[in-house]
Point group: C2
Chain length 206, copies 2
DNA sequence: GTAGGGACATACATTGCGTATGTCAATTGG
DNA sequence: CCAATTGACATACGCAATGTATGTCCCTAC
Protein backbone atom coordinates (compact mmCIF):
# COMPACT_ATOMS: atom_id res chain seq x y z
CA UNK A 1 0.00 0.00 0.00
CA UNK A 2 2.83 2.29 -0.66
CA UNK A 3 0.89 3.82 -3.49
CA UNK A 4 -2.73 3.97 -4.48
CA UNK A 5 -3.78 2.11 -7.53
CA UNK A 6 -6.07 3.76 -10.00
CA UNK A 7 -8.74 1.22 -9.22
CA UNK A 8 -11.36 3.93 -9.37
CA UNK A 9 -12.69 4.89 -6.00
CA UNK A 10 -9.67 6.50 -4.48
CA UNK A 11 -8.07 7.86 -7.58
CA UNK A 12 -11.26 9.26 -9.00
CA UNK A 13 -11.78 11.14 -5.81
CA UNK A 14 -8.27 12.52 -5.91
CA UNK A 15 -8.85 13.52 -9.48
CA UNK A 16 -12.00 15.34 -8.61
CA UNK A 17 -10.20 17.01 -5.82
CA UNK A 18 -7.51 18.22 -8.17
CA UNK A 19 -10.11 19.68 -10.46
CA UNK A 20 -11.96 21.31 -7.63
CA UNK A 21 -8.70 22.71 -6.45
CA UNK A 22 -7.86 24.38 -9.73
CA UNK A 23 -11.38 25.73 -9.90
CA UNK A 24 -10.93 27.16 -6.44
CA UNK A 25 -7.55 28.58 -7.35
CA UNK A 26 -8.98 30.32 -10.38
CA UNK A 27 -11.88 31.61 -8.37
CA UNK A 28 -9.60 32.99 -5.68
CA UNK A 29 -7.16 34.51 -8.14
CA UNK A 30 -9.96 36.12 -10.11
CA UNK A 31 -11.66 37.39 -7.01
CA UNK A 32 -8.47 38.99 -5.84
CA UNK A 33 -7.69 40.59 -9.18
CA UNK A 34 -11.24 41.83 -9.72
CA UNK A 35 -11.29 43.34 -6.27
CA UNK A 36 -7.90 44.98 -6.56
CA UNK A 37 -7.86 46.22 -10.13
CA UNK A 38 -11.45 46.04 -11.25
CA UNK A 39 -12.94 43.84 -13.92
CA UNK A 40 -11.74 45.66 -17.01
CA UNK A 41 -8.19 46.17 -15.82
CA UNK A 42 -7.69 42.65 -14.56
CA UNK A 43 -5.62 40.72 -17.06
CA UNK A 44 -6.54 37.07 -17.41
CA UNK A 45 -3.00 36.19 -18.36
CA UNK A 46 -1.71 37.83 -15.23
CA UNK A 47 -4.00 36.47 -12.58
CA UNK A 48 -4.21 32.96 -14.00
CA UNK A 49 -0.41 32.91 -14.01
CA UNK A 50 -0.42 34.05 -10.41
CA UNK A 51 -2.38 30.90 -9.67
CA UNK A 52 0.12 28.81 -11.59
CA UNK A 53 -2.28 28.28 -14.48
CA UNK A 54 -3.14 29.70 -17.88
CA UNK A 55 -6.18 31.11 -19.55
CA UNK A 56 -6.81 27.67 -20.99
CA UNK A 57 -7.95 26.42 -17.61
CA UNK A 58 -10.13 29.46 -17.12
CA UNK A 59 -11.92 29.03 -20.41
CA UNK A 60 -12.33 25.35 -19.70
CA UNK A 61 -13.96 25.82 -16.30
CA UNK A 62 -15.77 29.11 -16.59
CA UNK A 63 -16.20 29.71 -20.28
CA UNK A 64 -14.55 33.10 -20.21
CA UNK A 65 -13.82 36.19 -18.19
CA UNK A 66 -17.46 36.98 -17.67
CA UNK A 67 -18.17 33.47 -16.47
CA UNK A 68 -15.47 33.65 -13.85
CA UNK A 69 -16.69 37.03 -12.70
CA UNK A 70 -20.18 35.67 -12.41
CA UNK A 71 -18.94 32.80 -10.27
CA UNK A 72 -17.04 35.21 -8.05
CA UNK A 73 -20.07 37.43 -7.64
CA UNK A 74 -22.24 34.49 -6.72
CA UNK A 75 -19.70 33.36 -4.18
CA UNK A 76 -19.64 36.75 -2.51
CA UNK A 77 -23.39 37.02 -2.66
CA UNK A 78 -23.68 33.69 -0.87
CA UNK A 79 -21.23 34.78 1.78
CA UNK A 80 -23.17 37.96 2.41
CA UNK A 81 -26.41 36.07 2.68
CA UNK A 82 -24.88 33.64 5.11
CA UNK A 83 -23.57 36.42 7.29
CA UNK A 84 -26.90 38.21 7.26
CA UNK A 85 -28.63 34.99 8.11
CA UNK A 86 -26.38 34.34 11.07
CA UNK A 87 -26.98 37.85 12.29
CA UNK A 88 -30.72 37.83 11.81
CA UNK A 89 -31.16 34.53 13.59
CA UNK A 90 -29.94 36.16 16.77
CA UNK A 91 -32.43 39.00 16.61
CA UNK A 92 -35.28 39.28 19.08
CA UNK A 93 -37.99 40.03 16.54
CA UNK A 94 -38.54 40.01 12.80
CA UNK A 95 -38.53 43.77 12.80
CA UNK A 96 -35.27 43.97 14.64
CA UNK A 97 -33.83 41.33 12.34
CA UNK A 98 -34.74 43.47 9.36
CA UNK A 99 -33.30 46.63 10.80
CA UNK A 100 -30.10 45.02 11.91
CA UNK A 101 -29.73 43.27 8.59
CA UNK A 102 -29.95 46.56 6.77
CA UNK A 103 -27.40 48.16 9.02
CA UNK A 104 -25.09 45.19 8.67
CA UNK A 105 -25.56 45.30 4.93
CA UNK A 106 -24.22 48.81 4.89
CA UNK A 107 -21.19 47.66 6.82
CA UNK A 108 -20.54 44.81 4.45
CA UNK A 109 -20.96 47.02 1.45
CA UNK A 110 -18.16 49.08 2.89
CA UNK A 111 -15.69 46.27 2.43
CA UNK A 112 -13.68 47.17 -0.67
CA UNK A 113 -14.00 43.76 -2.21
CA UNK A 114 -17.77 43.70 -1.90
CA UNK A 115 -18.08 47.25 -3.02
CA UNK A 116 -16.01 46.93 -6.12
CA UNK A 117 -17.26 43.58 -7.32
CA UNK A 118 -20.90 43.68 -6.30
CA UNK A 119 -21.79 47.33 -6.60
CA UNK A 120 -19.46 48.90 -9.08
CA UNK A 121 -18.40 46.38 -11.66
CA UNK A 122 -21.17 43.87 -11.12
CA UNK A 123 -24.01 45.79 -12.74
CA UNK A 124 -21.86 46.83 -15.68
CA UNK A 125 -20.61 43.30 -16.37
CA UNK A 126 -23.61 41.18 -15.49
CA UNK A 127 -26.45 43.62 -15.84
CA UNK A 128 -29.13 44.30 -13.28
CA UNK A 129 -28.48 42.35 -10.08
CA UNK A 130 -32.05 41.13 -9.94
CA UNK A 131 -31.45 39.29 -13.18
CA UNK A 132 -28.28 37.58 -11.97
CA UNK A 133 -28.27 33.78 -12.07
CA UNK A 134 -29.09 33.30 -8.41
CA UNK A 135 -31.33 36.37 -8.48
CA UNK A 136 -29.26 37.95 -5.75
CA UNK A 137 -29.63 35.70 -2.77
CA UNK A 138 -29.22 38.55 -0.35
CA UNK A 139 -32.11 40.48 -1.84
CA UNK A 140 -34.23 37.38 -1.63
CA UNK A 141 -33.19 37.05 1.97
CA UNK A 142 -34.23 40.59 2.83
CA UNK A 143 -37.46 40.03 1.00
CA UNK A 144 -38.08 37.10 3.29
CA UNK A 145 -37.46 39.26 6.32
CA UNK A 146 -39.89 41.85 5.09
CA UNK A 147 -42.47 39.17 4.59
CA UNK A 148 -41.90 37.94 8.13
CA UNK A 149 -42.44 41.46 9.39
CA UNK A 150 -45.64 41.75 7.49
CA UNK A 151 -46.80 38.45 8.83
CA UNK A 152 -46.03 39.70 12.32
CA UNK A 153 -48.12 42.74 11.59
CA UNK A 154 -45.40 45.30 12.16
CA UNK A 155 -45.26 46.40 8.56
CA UNK A 156 -47.67 48.48 6.57
CA UNK A 157 -49.08 46.98 3.44
CA UNK A 158 -46.17 47.37 1.09
CA UNK A 159 -45.02 44.83 -1.41
CA UNK A 160 -42.26 42.79 0.23
CA UNK A 161 -39.96 42.64 -2.74
CA UNK A 162 -40.47 46.30 -3.50
CA UNK A 163 -39.49 47.18 0.04
CA UNK A 164 -36.48 44.87 -0.11
CA UNK A 165 -35.43 46.43 -3.36
CA UNK A 166 -35.67 49.96 -2.07
CA UNK A 167 -33.77 49.01 1.04
CA UNK A 168 -31.13 47.29 -0.98
CA UNK A 169 -30.67 50.31 -3.19
CA UNK A 170 -30.65 52.72 -0.31
CA UNK A 171 -28.14 50.74 1.69
CA UNK A 172 -25.77 49.99 -1.13
CA UNK A 173 -25.82 53.56 -2.28
CA UNK A 174 -25.22 54.73 1.26
CA UNK A 175 -22.29 52.38 1.46
CA UNK A 176 -20.82 53.83 -1.69
CA UNK A 177 -21.23 57.26 -0.24
CA UNK A 178 -19.58 56.33 3.02
CA UNK A 179 -16.71 54.53 1.40
CA UNK A 180 -15.77 57.55 -0.66
CA UNK A 181 -16.25 60.10 2.10
CA UNK A 182 -13.44 61.90 3.84
CA UNK A 183 -14.61 60.96 7.31
CA UNK A 184 -16.30 57.60 6.88
CA UNK A 185 -17.22 57.35 10.56
CA UNK A 186 -19.21 60.55 10.69
CA UNK A 187 -20.91 59.92 7.39
CA UNK A 188 -21.68 56.39 8.41
CA UNK A 189 -23.44 57.59 11.54
CA UNK A 190 -25.55 60.01 9.54
CA UNK A 191 -26.44 57.41 6.96
CA UNK A 192 -27.45 54.80 9.51
CA UNK A 193 -29.59 57.31 11.36
CA UNK A 194 -31.39 58.30 8.19
CA UNK A 195 -31.78 54.67 7.25
CA UNK A 196 -33.48 53.90 10.56
CA UNK A 197 -35.82 56.80 9.98
CA UNK A 198 -36.76 55.52 6.57
CA UNK A 199 -37.30 52.06 7.92
CA UNK A 200 -39.68 53.48 10.44
CA UNK A 201 -41.70 54.73 7.54
CA UNK A 202 -42.39 51.19 6.56
CA UNK A 203 -43.47 50.24 10.04
CA UNK A 204 -47.14 50.20 10.68
CA UNK A 205 -48.21 53.26 12.57
CA UNK A 206 -50.08 51.96 15.55
CA UNK B 1 -19.50 91.97 -49.80
CA UNK B 2 -20.04 88.91 -51.87
CA UNK B 3 -17.79 86.97 -49.54
CA UNK B 4 -16.67 87.44 -45.98
CA UNK B 5 -13.10 88.30 -45.45
CA UNK B 6 -11.18 86.61 -42.71
CA UNK B 7 -10.94 89.88 -40.91
CA UNK B 8 -11.57 88.11 -37.65
CA UNK B 9 -15.02 88.73 -36.26
CA UNK B 10 -17.20 86.79 -38.60
CA UNK B 11 -14.78 84.11 -39.63
CA UNK B 12 -13.59 83.38 -36.13
CA UNK B 13 -17.15 82.81 -35.09
CA UNK B 14 -17.75 80.42 -37.92
CA UNK B 15 -14.63 78.59 -36.96
CA UNK B 16 -15.72 78.25 -33.38
CA UNK B 17 -19.04 77.05 -34.58
CA UNK B 18 -17.40 74.33 -36.62
CA UNK B 19 -15.45 73.18 -33.61
CA UNK B 20 -18.48 73.24 -31.38
CA UNK B 21 -20.29 71.28 -34.00
CA UNK B 22 -17.75 68.48 -34.13
CA UNK B 23 -17.72 68.38 -30.35
CA UNK B 24 -21.47 68.05 -30.37
CA UNK B 25 -21.32 65.41 -33.05
CA UNK B 26 -18.85 63.36 -31.04
CA UNK B 27 -20.93 63.79 -27.92
CA UNK B 28 -24.07 62.67 -29.67
CA UNK B 29 -22.42 59.72 -31.38
CA UNK B 30 -20.80 58.59 -28.15
CA UNK B 31 -23.99 58.99 -26.21
CA UNK B 32 -25.85 56.90 -28.71
CA UNK B 33 -23.23 54.16 -28.80
CA UNK B 34 -22.81 54.05 -25.04
CA UNK B 35 -26.54 53.81 -24.58
CA UNK B 36 -27.03 51.16 -27.23
CA UNK B 37 -24.02 48.91 -26.74
CA UNK B 38 -22.62 49.91 -23.39
CA UNK B 39 -19.29 51.51 -22.64
CA UNK B 40 -17.03 48.50 -23.08
CA UNK B 41 -18.60 47.27 -26.30
CA UNK B 42 -18.76 50.64 -27.98
CA UNK B 43 -15.96 50.90 -30.50
CA UNK B 44 -14.43 54.32 -30.83
CA UNK B 45 -13.55 53.66 -34.44
CA UNK B 46 -17.13 52.75 -35.19
CA UNK B 47 -19.05 55.54 -33.59
CA UNK B 48 -16.62 58.29 -34.53
CA UNK B 49 -16.90 57.07 -38.11
CA UNK B 50 -20.66 57.19 -37.83
CA UNK B 51 -20.24 60.87 -37.06
CA UNK B 52 -17.99 61.31 -40.09
CA UNK B 53 -14.90 61.67 -37.92
CA UNK B 54 -12.04 59.62 -36.55
CA UNK B 55 -10.62 58.82 -33.16
CA UNK B 56 -8.17 61.64 -33.70
CA UNK B 57 -10.90 64.19 -33.14
CA UNK B 58 -12.12 62.37 -30.07
CA UNK B 59 -8.72 62.32 -28.45
CA UNK B 60 -8.25 65.95 -29.32
CA UNK B 61 -11.46 67.14 -27.73
CA UNK B 62 -12.05 64.70 -24.89
CA UNK B 63 -8.69 63.16 -24.18
CA UNK B 64 -9.93 59.61 -24.58
CA UNK B 65 -12.83 57.23 -24.27
CA UNK B 66 -13.27 57.91 -20.58
CA UNK B 67 -13.28 61.64 -21.14
CA UNK B 68 -16.05 61.42 -23.69
CA UNK B 69 -18.07 59.16 -21.44
CA UNK B 70 -17.67 61.61 -18.62
CA UNK B 71 -18.91 64.44 -20.80
CA UNK B 72 -21.90 62.37 -21.85
CA UNK B 73 -22.72 61.49 -18.25
CA UNK B 74 -22.52 65.13 -17.22
CA UNK B 75 -24.80 66.11 -20.04
CA UNK B 76 -27.41 63.58 -19.03
CA UNK B 77 -27.06 64.51 -15.38
CA UNK B 78 -27.71 68.13 -16.27
CA UNK B 79 -30.75 67.21 -18.27
CA UNK B 80 -32.16 65.19 -15.40
CA UNK B 81 -31.57 68.01 -12.98
CA UNK B 82 -33.26 70.45 -15.27
CA UNK B 83 -36.30 68.24 -15.65
CA UNK B 84 -36.53 67.69 -11.92
CA UNK B 85 -36.21 71.38 -11.35
CA UNK B 86 -38.99 72.20 -13.76
CA UNK B 87 -41.18 69.65 -12.06
CA UNK B 88 -40.41 70.72 -8.53
CA UNK B 89 -41.05 74.36 -9.25
CA UNK B 90 -44.66 73.52 -9.96
CA UNK B 91 -45.20 71.72 -6.67
CA UNK B 92 -47.38 73.17 -3.96
CA UNK B 93 -45.02 72.55 -1.07
CA UNK B 94 -41.41 71.53 -0.44
CA UNK B 95 -42.59 68.16 0.76
CA UNK B 96 -44.66 67.58 -2.32
CA UNK B 97 -41.78 68.71 -4.46
CA UNK B 98 -39.56 66.13 -2.83
CA UNK B 99 -42.03 63.32 -3.21
CA UNK B 100 -42.82 64.14 -6.81
CA UNK B 101 -39.15 64.49 -7.62
CA UNK B 102 -38.46 61.03 -6.29
CA UNK B 103 -41.30 59.53 -8.25
CA UNK B 104 -40.19 61.33 -11.38
CA UNK B 105 -36.66 60.18 -10.79
CA UNK B 106 -37.86 56.60 -10.91
CA UNK B 107 -39.51 57.30 -14.22
CA UNK B 108 -36.41 58.87 -15.68
CA UNK B 109 -34.25 56.06 -14.46
CA UNK B 110 -36.46 53.81 -16.50
CA UNK B 111 -35.32 55.38 -19.72
CA UNK B 112 -32.84 52.94 -21.23
CA UNK B 113 -30.28 55.61 -22.02
CA UNK B 114 -30.28 56.98 -18.49
CA UNK B 115 -30.28 53.57 -16.99
CA UNK B 116 -27.41 52.20 -18.94
CA UNK B 117 -25.14 55.21 -18.85
CA UNK B 118 -25.85 56.63 -15.42
CA UNK B 119 -26.62 53.58 -13.35
CA UNK B 120 -24.93 50.63 -14.96
CA UNK B 121 -21.78 51.72 -16.72
CA UNK B 122 -21.31 55.03 -14.96
CA UNK B 123 -20.13 53.74 -11.60
CA UNK B 124 -17.86 51.16 -13.21
CA UNK B 125 -16.21 53.68 -15.52
CA UNK B 126 -16.16 56.83 -13.42
CA UNK B 127 -16.38 55.45 -9.91
CA UNK B 128 -18.81 56.51 -7.25
CA UNK B 129 -21.28 59.07 -8.60
CA UNK B 130 -20.77 61.34 -5.63
CA UNK B 131 -17.18 61.77 -6.73
CA UNK B 132 -18.04 62.64 -10.30
CA UNK B 133 -16.79 66.00 -11.59
CA UNK B 134 -20.05 67.84 -11.09
CA UNK B 135 -20.70 65.81 -7.93
CA UNK B 136 -23.92 64.54 -9.43
CA UNK B 137 -26.04 67.60 -9.85
CA UNK B 138 -29.24 65.69 -9.39
CA UNK B 139 -28.20 64.39 -5.98
CA UNK B 140 -27.27 67.90 -4.97
CA UNK B 141 -30.67 69.00 -6.18
CA UNK B 142 -32.51 66.46 -4.08
CA UNK B 143 -30.33 67.37 -1.13
CA UNK B 144 -31.55 70.92 -1.56
CA UNK B 145 -35.13 69.78 -1.54
CA UNK B 146 -34.58 67.82 1.64
CA UNK B 147 -33.08 70.89 3.22
CA UNK B 148 -36.08 72.92 2.20
CA UNK B 149 -38.35 70.37 3.79
CA UNK B 150 -36.38 70.49 6.96
CA UNK B 151 -36.51 74.24 6.97
CA UNK B 152 -40.24 74.02 6.54
CA UNK B 153 -40.38 71.74 9.53
CA UNK B 154 -41.93 68.78 7.78
CA UNK B 155 -38.90 66.57 8.09
CA UNK B 156 -37.45 64.85 11.08
CA UNK B 157 -33.91 65.62 12.02
CA UNK B 158 -32.06 63.58 9.45
CA UNK B 159 -28.97 64.69 7.62
CA UNK B 160 -30.10 66.16 4.29
CA UNK B 161 -27.42 64.62 2.17
CA UNK B 162 -27.81 61.26 3.85
CA UNK B 163 -31.50 61.31 3.11
CA UNK B 164 -30.89 62.38 -0.47
CA UNK B 165 -28.38 59.61 -0.89
CA UNK B 166 -30.69 56.95 0.45
CA UNK B 167 -33.50 58.20 -1.73
CA UNK B 168 -31.26 58.27 -4.74
CA UNK B 169 -30.14 54.72 -4.13
CA UNK B 170 -33.62 53.47 -3.46
CA UNK B 171 -35.11 55.11 -6.52
CA UNK B 172 -32.39 54.11 -8.94
CA UNK B 173 -32.42 50.57 -7.70
CA UNK B 174 -36.17 50.49 -7.98
CA UNK B 175 -35.87 51.72 -11.52
CA UNK B 176 -33.43 48.96 -12.38
CA UNK B 177 -35.84 46.48 -10.93
CA UNK B 178 -38.76 47.87 -12.86
CA UNK B 179 -36.90 48.06 -16.11
CA UNK B 180 -36.01 44.39 -16.00
CA UNK B 181 -39.34 43.16 -14.79
CA UNK B 182 -41.78 41.24 -16.92
CA UNK B 183 -44.67 43.57 -16.19
CA UNK B 184 -43.08 46.96 -15.66
CA UNK B 185 -46.38 48.68 -14.95
CA UNK B 186 -47.37 46.48 -12.08
CA UNK B 187 -43.92 46.49 -10.56
CA UNK B 188 -43.71 50.23 -10.98
CA UNK B 189 -46.91 50.71 -9.01
CA UNK B 190 -45.62 48.56 -6.18
CA UNK B 191 -42.30 50.33 -6.09
CA UNK B 192 -43.80 53.79 -6.05
CA UNK B 193 -46.18 52.81 -3.26
CA UNK B 194 -43.34 51.48 -1.16
CA UNK B 195 -41.29 54.56 -1.94
CA UNK B 196 -44.05 56.82 -0.67
CA UNK B 197 -44.21 54.79 2.52
CA UNK B 198 -40.50 55.13 3.06
CA UNK B 199 -40.65 58.82 2.42
CA UNK B 200 -43.29 59.10 5.08
CA UNK B 201 -40.75 57.67 7.46
CA UNK B 202 -38.66 60.75 6.99
CA UNK B 203 -41.57 63.05 7.63
CA UNK B 204 -41.87 64.44 11.08
CA UNK B 205 -44.48 62.65 13.08
CA UNK B 206 -46.73 65.38 14.38
C1' DG C 1 -4.12 -2.83 -22.40
C1' DT C 2 -5.93 0.09 -25.35
C1' DA C 3 -9.20 3.45 -26.87
C1' DG C 4 -11.44 7.62 -25.58
C1' DG C 5 -12.36 11.79 -23.25
C1' DG C 6 -11.44 15.41 -20.25
C1' DA C 7 -8.11 18.90 -18.17
C1' DC C 8 -5.20 22.05 -19.31
C1' DA C 9 -1.38 24.45 -22.18
C1' DT C 10 0.14 26.53 -26.43
C1' DA C 11 -0.37 29.05 -30.70
C1' DC C 12 -2.82 32.14 -33.55
C1' DA C 13 -5.93 35.66 -35.22
C1' DT C 14 -8.53 39.67 -34.24
C1' DT C 15 -9.73 43.76 -32.23
C1' DG C 16 -9.40 47.91 -29.93
C1' DC C 17 -7.00 51.40 -27.37
C1' DG C 18 -3.41 55.00 -26.86
C1' DT C 19 0.34 57.71 -28.83
C1' DA C 20 3.23 59.74 -32.15
C1' DT C 21 3.32 61.93 -36.37
C1' DG C 22 1.64 64.27 -40.36
C1' DT C 23 -1.32 67.67 -42.98
C1' DC C 24 -4.04 71.42 -44.03
C1' DA C 25 -6.59 75.39 -43.04
C1' DA C 26 -7.04 79.48 -40.36
C1' DT C 27 -5.36 83.07 -37.49
C1' DT C 28 -2.04 86.49 -36.30
C1' DG C 29 1.61 89.78 -36.75
C1' DG C 30 4.07 92.74 -39.57
C1' DC D 1 -1.04 91.10 -48.37
C1' DC D 2 2.13 87.55 -46.99
C1' DA D 3 4.61 84.46 -43.95
C1' DA D 4 4.93 81.95 -39.69
C1' DT D 5 2.55 79.58 -36.30
C1' DT D 6 -1.08 77.42 -34.00
C1' DG D 7 -4.67 74.27 -33.66
C1' DA D 8 -8.11 70.81 -35.52
C1' DC D 9 -8.19 66.61 -37.17
C1' DA D 10 -6.52 62.31 -39.85
C1' DT D 11 -3.21 58.62 -40.47
C1' DA D 12 0.12 55.20 -38.97
C1' DC D 13 2.14 52.40 -35.57
C1' DG D 14 2.77 49.48 -31.45
C1' DC D 15 0.98 47.00 -27.72
C1' DA D 16 -2.00 44.48 -24.91
C1' DA D 17 -5.82 41.61 -24.20
C1' DT D 18 -9.46 38.59 -25.49
C1' DG D 19 -11.44 34.46 -27.84
C1' DT D 20 -10.66 30.32 -30.44
C1' DA D 21 -8.47 26.48 -32.47
C1' DT D 22 -5.25 23.05 -31.77
C1' DG D 23 -2.22 20.07 -29.33
C1' DT D 24 -0.64 17.04 -25.42
C1' DC D 25 -0.88 14.23 -21.53
C1' DC D 26 -3.00 11.60 -18.08
C1' DC D 27 -6.79 9.38 -16.18
C1' DT D 28 -10.74 6.41 -16.73
C1' DA D 29 -13.51 2.78 -18.73
C1' DC D 30 -14.36 -1.27 -21.30
Amino acid sequence: MAYVSSVEGVMSKTRKEMIAETRAKLLAAGRHAFAEQGYAEASMDDFTASAGLTRGALYHHFGGKTGLFEAVAMQIDDEITERLDALASRAASPWEALVESCVAYVQMALEPEVQRIMFRDGPAVLGDPSSWPNASACIAFVTGQVEACRAAGVLSDVDPEAAARLLNGATSDAAQWIANAKNPEGVSAKAVAALRAMLDGLRRAD
